[in-house]
């Protein structure tokens, strides 16, 4: 034997140990995790962070220059540098902590229960930890087990495995010892690691363990795909580019001006640096981090765990969601949806809790049908379980649950009808039957119950139950059977037929030896009871969520491995295909013309199966995605899922992909945001995804979209605010250098303003509620709707910033004048003001000031505090459409966050606090007029120039 193993005795323990030593444990190694320090370093190296590092270095240089020249007036630059670094490091730690926490949540999913495997070693059967399996081990699997490694089957009995996590096929695959195909994925004698054995038993030798298994290879392949940059990272980089450009432009201009006016080179250089540093938005980094992590937290409460903070925003810009069907849109469990008996189709309750039965249960036929469904059923409730856990195949489970609800206590019911013999379902006869004794001990007849493919069942029937009466099954009934069967089938439901017969007492007396192989009993001339159809019903919240997506301009594309008909039925059910939308085929049928003659553009909906997709070129797929707004892809393979994602991305969409299987992991990686399912999802999928839905619920995605959009809006507001503030911080310098007024604003003052007043608004911004129409707008176009665009910059800098500067100077001159320095005296005063040797500088009133008093008297400290207040008015009003709600929400947090600052800053300076209020009102009025114009005349010149 190749693996030095024995087919009967397995490996020897010593040999197994040796191999274990060589190959390592049988588990998927987590993708080579980034070392923690690299993760942390990454937090410190974003676009904004780099900007701040540069600023800090500049500060150090400026400090160094001043220090070496011995003209060190104060330690402003040093403090500034230290503060900048502190901000970067603190926010870095914060972000790192957030990601660390969500990583932990994800890690907690793994290894909840250590997997066990039944292994034969030294001829003995042992339960061992699946981790300890080695190549060559002989293992036994049975229905319900997870396959513990890649196994070559040497013995199998009715063994079926569910390969869906690997290939996406939802049909169970039977496994036999024969090698049927070259390709290991196709052949019948290999069962794969992490798939589930549904029924039967099998024994096999382990051929691959751990990362060398097929699934391990796929997993490591997916983790090899590099992460793309998130849209928000791109936006922030764009913003940083703009800021850096502006800073250098302004700095250089000032430098030239300063040199021209006659400053020394070094002094001009310090001006240059001061301006560059003044441009750095210190608070923005905190805003971004706080916004993202607060939202991540909020999402976690709604069962979305975000692995990568920036993914939150990505979700907001999503324009296409490629959603899985099973489990995400649907409940992932077969449920009885319809019944046909007495020539009427009855609807069953398919909601999650299945509280009530909505159809008439008084009919005799119903009782017979329920009895057949209950008896001819191999599914059982697992004993000794608190909750009802059912073991069995999906449709039998559905039937069991259904009859349990309808009749009650099925286990006991079956006891009463003792099973005599049973013929399990097989693919040749396509039915399943069992023979039972009757409940009434006096009645010695046997009851034969049968279920199976409806047409096969009907063939065996000669009568039909109508209102409890057996009627001959004539053409008319056959006709109505056909109609009902077609109707149910077209709903995408799995239909089963049920029939029964009381076996003749004389022919089959008690003790008759029934033989399941020979079938030595009546199997024709039966009495047809009815049809029951089952479906995996959509989750209750999904139609609403899909609707929300649609109003939010997001396309929901269904990509599933299921049948086109089922897929379409579910799509129609949840609203992915809207009412009245037709596919090309529908139009063809309606107009009675061949499919080729239909104008493809008329069809809103389109169902493409994997087979069709295989024959399509990528252009054709793009075209199909472009021309049909409502798309369903059925019977798709994992590779095709990837193709669909790529096609959407080619069309400029930001794509979110949901998935659970290992096979989905490449698509999850490729997508702009991959969303893995927490319950059904495999570890590989979770590793590849950016976000995990703990409850597998599609509706949670919509919440995420809303939050993501909110973040973008809030960041935009925050940036508008940050940009605005730059101007009133810069103009004092400009005036100081050019007109030589006493310096209105010291370095430290700027810093204090930046940090104290930037971070509070940041936090309150993160808490800001969504504008009411946030989910009624189209998703942003990543190429056009930038975070920072020209009109935003122009509006912030040259309009609001200008008003604020005027406000600041009004305040400055007021304060100066009221202390005794008239505006005209201030002009050109700088050299005297800063002259440390002048102890009797006369003010406008003839009072004489000594130098120290003047230094303290940086009157205009108040200035920016004032202008910041203006921003309170301005804050939050930027993009409002619903002005009223905006007013409430923006003012309250601001007043709260500013009040403590006021108190500590006041110290008797409060009087100048009120000077710029008229300007505040002006900004408010101006902004309202601007927005009014934007709202009233969309698309006009005003809108183009003044909306951002």
């Amino acid at each position: 034997m190749r693996y030095t193993t024995s087919v009967t005795k397995g490996l020897t323990s010593s040999k197994a140990e040796e191999v274990l030593e060589r190959d390592g444990p049988n588990e998927l190694l987590p993708p080579k995790g980034t070392p923690e320090y690299v993760k942390f370093a990454r937090q410190l190296a974003g676009g904004l962070q780099c900007l701040m590092w540069v600023a800090a270095v500049i500060c150090f240089i400026a400090f160094g220059i001043e220090f070496s020249r011995g003209t060190l007036g104060c330690f402003d630059d040093l403090y500034l540098a230290i503060t900048l670094i502190t901000v970067v490091v603190v926010t870095g730690c914060f972000g790192y902590y957030q990601e660390f926490k969500s990583t932990n949540i994800i890690a907690s999913f793994k290894n909840l229960v250590p997997q066990q495997a039944l292994v034969i070693r030294d001829g003995q059967k042992n339960q061992i930890n699946a981790m300890d399996l080695v190549v060559g081990d002989l293992v036994e699997i049975k229905g319900g087990d997870r396959v513990p490694a890649d196994i070559r089957i040497i013995f199998a009995q009715g063994c079926k495995v569910d390969n869906s996590s690997l290939t996406g096929e939802s049909e169970p695959q039977s496994k036999t010892p024969e090698c049927t195909h070259e390709n290991p994925l196709e052949t019948k004698n290999i069962a794969f690691f992490s798939t589930t054995c549904l029924e039967g038993v099998a024994t096999g030798t382990v051929i691959n363990t751990g990362d060398r298994t097929i699934i391990g290879r796929i997993a490591s392949l997916a983790s090899g795909v590099g992460n793309e940059k998130t849209p928000i990272a791109i936006e922030i980089e764009h913003f940083v580019d703009i800021i850096a450009g502006l800073a250098i432009f302004f700095g250089f201009t000032f430098f030239v001006v300063a040199m021209f006016i006659g400053y020394a080179f070094l002094e001009a250089m310090i001006f240059f640096m001061a301006i560059v540093v003044a441009y750095v938005p210190e608070g923005l980094l905190a805003t971004v981090t706080v916004c993202l992590s607060l939202t991540a937290k909020r999402l976690a409460r709604k069962n979305c765990v975000v692995k990568n903070l920036e993914a939150v925003e990505t979700l907001g810009s999503t324009s296409v969601i490629c959603s899985d069907k099973t489990g995400t849109l649907t409940q992932n469990r077969m449920t009885v949806a319809h019944l046909w008996f007495d020539n009427v189709i009855h609807a069953a309750d398919t909601t999650e809790d299945q509280s009530g039965q909505s159809f008439d249960q008084s009919s005799e036929t119903w009782r017979s049908l329920a009895r057949v469904a209950g008896l001819c059923n191999r599914a059982i409730f697992k004993p000794n379980q608190e909750s009802l856990i059912v073991v069995g195949d999906a449709s039998e489970t559905a039937l069991l649950k259904f009859t349990e609800l309808a009749i009650g206590n099925m286990m006991e019911y079956r006891e009463r009808f003792k099973k005599v013999v049973e013929v399990p379902f097989n693919s040749t006869n396509k039915f399943q039957l069992s023979v039972h004794e009757l409940e009434d001990p006096m009645d010695l007849r046997y009851l034969l119950v049968m279920k199976g493919a409806p047409e096969r069942i009907l063939e065996r029937c000669s009568t039909i139950l109508i209102k409890g009466q057996e009627m001959p099954l004539d053409e008319q009934w056959r006709e109505s059977f056909q109609t009902a069967y077609m109707d149910l089938g077209s709903l995408g439901e799995r239909v089963l037929g049920f029939c029964h017969i009381y076996l003749n007492e004389n022919e089959f007396p008690r003790g008759y030896k029934f033989d399941s192989d020979e079938m030595n009993f009546t199997t024709s001339g039966l009495c047809f009871a009815g049809l029951i159809s089952m479906i995996d019903p959509p989750r209750a919240t999904v139609p609403d969520a899909v609707m929300k997506c649609r109003t939010a301009g997001i396309r929901v594309v269904m990509v599933t491995g299921d049948h086109p008909i089922t897929a379409r039925a579910i799509a129609a059910n949840v609203g992915i295909i809207t009412e009245g939308s037709e596919t090309v085929e529908d139009i063809a049928t309606r107009k009675r013309i061949p499919v080729e003659q239909v104008n493809r553009r008329d069809a809103r909906a389109c169902v493409i199966s994997g087979g069709q997709l295989k024959d399509m070129s990528s252009e054709e797929l793009d075209e199909a995605l472009r021309s049909h707004p409502e798309m369903v892809f059925a019977r798709t393979s994992p590779q095709q899922k990837l193709i669909i994602v790529e096609s959407c991305q080619r069309l400029g969409s930001i794509v979110a992909v949901t998935g659970d299987g290992v096979n989905d992991s490449p698509a999850l990686k490729k997508a702009d945001i991959g969303i893995a399912m927490g319950i059904a999802g495999s570890d590989a999928a979770k590793n590849a995804a950016d976000m995990i839905l703990l409850d597998d619920n599609f509706a949670s995605i919509v919440t995420g979209v809303e939050q993501g959009r909110l973040i973008f809006d809030n960041l935009k507001k925050s940036i508008a605010y940050t940009l605005t503030k730059n101007i009133p911080e810069l103009t004092p310098y400009l005036i100081y250098i050019t007109v030589s007024v006493p310096l209105p604003l010291g370095c430290i003052t700027i810093l204090m303003i930046e940090l104290a007043t930037d971070i509070f608004p940041s936090v309150s911004l993160a808490y800001e509620k969504a504008e009411s129409d946030i989910m009624h707008l189209k998703p942003r176009n990543p190429r056009k709707d930038r975070l920072v665009n020209e009109s935003l910059a122009a509006y912030s800098y040259f309009q609001i910033g200008a008003i604020q500067s005027f406000a600041g100077f009004t305040d400055y001159f007021t304060a100066m004048a009221q202390e005794g320095w008239y505006p005209l005296l201030c002009v050109g005063l700088r050299s005297h003001w800063e002259d440390v040797h002048l102890q009797d500088l006369q003010d406008s009133y003839g009072q004489e000031w000594w130098v120290s008093v003047i230094e303290i008297c940086q009157i205009a400290d108040v200035l920016i505090r004032k202008t910041r207040r203006l921003s309170i008015f301005q804050q939050g009003f930027f993009r409002s459409v619903d002005v009223d709600s905006m007013e409430q929400m923006s003012l309250t947090p601001y007043i709260q966050s500013y009040t403590p600052c006021y108190v500590s800053f006041m110290k008797g300076w409060g009087q100048w606090w009120f000077v710029p209020i008229p300007y505040g009102i002006l900004i408010f009025v101006y902004d309202e007029i601007r927005k009014l114009g934007v709202r009233r005349h969309p698309g006009s010149w005003w809108d183009q120039e003044l909306y951002y």
Binding site: E228, K229, T230, P231, I234, E646, Q649, R650, G652, S653, I654, D672, P782, R783, E790, F798, Q799, A802, I803, F806, F809, T810, F813, T814, A817, Q818, E819, G820, Y822, P823, V836, H837, Q839, D840, Q842, D843, S844, Y845, G846, Q847, E848, W849, W850, V851, S852, V853, I856, C857, G908, Q911, P918, L922, W941, E945
Partner: protein
């Protein structure tokens, strides 16, 4: 983000930029058609004209509301500063250093003082009144011509031997130099809070006690007479002059001493170490050979 990550070559970028500068398809220049540029420029011109107008209005309102005689707030200036003349600095410190044998350095010092005393000569002080000594000169009304208030006369001669009248060198030709101490003026400031006690100058020797033989004050006792207070501001008292005290030091031995001169009054602070000129002045007096 396949959509955003199209790698573009430099040529394409240049081309893009070129199209940005002039796009012949849409007739746009730097992203706007010339017509739109005119509109947006007009918009900004109008915006800034209005803003400048509002700003001017605000400043005008401010000036209109200001009291021309007294500033609205005097919270920064509660206690007067004190300075010594001639004010010569070495770095941050006041150092009065001259060479007894060098005429140039002597003349520099004496010229400074005589320039400083120019407003105090008899002709300049002609228009000012001789006030009653020893009491505040309070004036509620504007009784002087041109709606002003009277100022008290302080003449050079009041400085006695340091007036420069008898000795134009102010003693800098020898070892008995004069310095003049001036207290800054603050509108409506009343020394000793109107108790009627005149503030006086007190010079103490911080180091080099042995090098100073005697300190003489002019006027006697170094008093700043009460009649010079309160000050009503430039507009009300255009001819006001600060009262002065001259101090003559008799240097001996090493001819070097560190001196602190302080104006003594209850309401003149002097103890704040961060404000070296508040209520006092410290200087180094050095006469080189």
């Amino acid at each position: 983000m396949a959509t955003l990550k199209e790698k573009r070559t430099c040529g394409q970028r240049c081309e893009d930029f070129g199209r940005f500068v002039w796009n012949s398809d849409t007739g746009t220049m730097f992203g706007r058609t010339p017509e739109k540029w005119v509109y947006i420029s007009l918009y900004y011109v109008a915006f800034y004209v209005i803003m400048t107008g509002l700003f001017s209005l605000a400043i005008w309102t401010l000036m209109y509301t200001l009291d021309p005689y007294t500033p609205d707030y005097q919270d920064r200036l509660t206690s007067p500063g004190v300075m010594v003349w001639p004010p010569t600095y070495i770095e941050e410190d006041v150092v009065l250093s001259y060479n007894t044998s060098d005429k140039v350095s002597q003349r520099k010092m004496s010229n400074c003082l005589s320039n400083f005393l120019k407003p105090y000569n008899d002709t300049s002080q002609q228009s000012n009144r001789n006030c009653t000594r020893g009491e505040y000169f309070k004036q509620e009304k504007f009784e002087a011509p041109h709606h002003t208030k009277y100022s008290c006369r302080f003449t050079q001669s009041m400085l006695g031997r340091c007036s420069g009248l008898d000795d134009p060198t102010f003693g800098y030709n020898g070892t008995m130099p004069c310095v003049i101490i001036k207290m800054n003026r603050i509108i409506n400031f009343l020394p000793n809070n109107g108790t009627g006690m005149a503030p006086h100058l007190n010079c103490t020797i911080l180091s080099g006690h042995d090098n100073i033989d005697m300190i003489e004050y002019f006027p006697t006792n170094g008093t700043f007479d009460l009649s010079y207070f309160p000050y009503y501001g430039k507009l009300a008292q255009p001819t006001y002059v600060n009262p002065l005290v001259a101090v003559k030091f008799h240097l001996v031995k090493e001819r070097k001493a560190k001196i602190q001169c302080r104006v003594v009054a209850h309401n003149i602070a002097y103890e704040d170490s961060y404000e070296p000129y508040q209520g006092k002045v410290v200087f180094l007096l050095k006469a080189l050979k």
